[in-house]
Amino acid sequence: MGMNDKLTVLNPIGFAPTVTRKELAPRLDTLDGKTVYLVDCRFDDSDVFLKQMQAWFAEHMPGVRTVFKPISSVYLKDDPTTWEEIRARGHAAVVGVGH
């Protein structure tokens, strides 16, 4: 076979699942008077970071009620109890910190 002869080879890549678009939640008109959950994913000192964000809200936007909320277990587990609480009692969420 010469150097310029062409070969046919197989593609080594697997099969990706179909991507289905998911709806994003409608945004709020304002945060004033609303409850924002600061959701701690309990990884690498994310709790310390979110408590600083909570302090920022208290200083700069006192009309916003914040709730510091650690997830129930590790971030690898779904946490429907926490998500239900936030839906029932909150208006928005900040989740962190993804490392």
Binding site: M1, M3, D5, K6, L7, T8, V9, L10, N11, P12, I13, G14, F15, A16, P17, T18, V19, T20, R21, K22, L24, A25, R27, L28, T30, L31, Y37, V39, R42, F43, D44, D45, S46, V48, F49, K51, Q52, M53, A55, W56, M61, I71, S73, V74, L76, D78, W83, E84, I86, R87, G90, H91, A92, A93, V94, V95, G96, V97, G98, H99
Partner: protein
Amino acid sequence: MTIEAQYGVPTVAVHTDKFDRVVRSVASVNGMPGLQQVFVPQPVMGKSARELRAYVDGNDPLTGRLVMQEVIEGLTRPFDDEDLKPVEFDRSTPRLCAPDTEENLHRLFLENNWTDTLPIVLPTEERVAAMLAHTHRKADEVVGHMRPTYFREYWEYTVEKVAVNAVMAGARPEYLPVILALAATGASARGSTTSSMAAMAVVNGPIRHEIQMNSGTGAMAPYNHANATIGRAYGLLSQNLQGGSVPGLTYMGSQGNNYAYNSVTFAENEERSPWEAFHVQQGFKPTDSTVSVFTGCRSTAFTLGLREKHWREHVRNMLRGMDPHIPPTLLLDPITARQFIDRGGFRTKAALIDWLYDNARMPATEYWDYQLVQNYLYPRATFGEEPWASKLKAAPDELIRMFRREDIHVVVVGGETNGYWRIMGCTYQKTVSVDEWR
């Protein structure tokens, strides 16, 4: 993503900037490219409250805009057409690459991140067909599903796709049943974790001799063709069949890991072991051929033999050196395996594991302060999961067990040139029949 999509709560996700590409990619393949994401500097870990307040008050390092301005806008700014546009992009995988010269195809495979950067064997139709002749399974049969990390989507792969990667690794066709069994575990040898894990594969049963695997001198590399190429195939098939292993995108291992080149693949030295084989411990018959997969291989402790006076202390010291989040698997040369019987009277692997379980201890206060314990075990303890919930009740100075008994394993490997042995920190995943893939 769950709270936004399934519970309808407007959400902003905060990440460190090193994860820019990966989190945008994960959001996109989960159908949420418009997910609101804000970035702060890496690292958060270990920073003081004052330093993290500076992150909050400061700018997103990727956009240069104020972090809190982006957080507030992310929760209140109405979505525009760009955020809501349909998610449609071509993710189909053609069976063949466009015909090209050998040199150009090697470049294509390298540039597409389809290799481990070492030269590969091009998977021509003839070579793949020869590989497929060594299994009774159909080429289009689905073998399994794999993903590089928890938040990514599972990709699917067939027998032919596994064979393609086996050819690339330089494996001989008769190795294919072992490689298919590895693929069937669904356990990736190319996890995306920042901790730079590698996998380990232990082969048991008659297949070891049929394909001339090495369980003796130099078994753990680089002195046996089957060990080397089966392990390499496991790595290549993992990265290619799970949707990639690209630094910054689908691989985030901060330091990388040399073990990943051949996934620490070897045969257990059943003939020279004084104990039952690993696959028999897992419920298989001695005449079954199997492969067992471990993940999370990073840490290794090492010594020579077992000294008469202080062997217990030496082994305890080795165990204390392991991160308590990652359980120990002892890799014992047959000489040392027999020494464990002579010194400690461990007539079975189970008896040795009992001793290891009871002797791997550290003060509770030190245990709970490990970062990985904080990240992965403390949350489970507070959720009430055992045994961690009970450990949480221990006094700070109480010596608590570092590992669960069921996570500790023993494998015999080596050629008895001396009694060296090591502890591999790793997590056993599963044992799969090779015979079902012949």
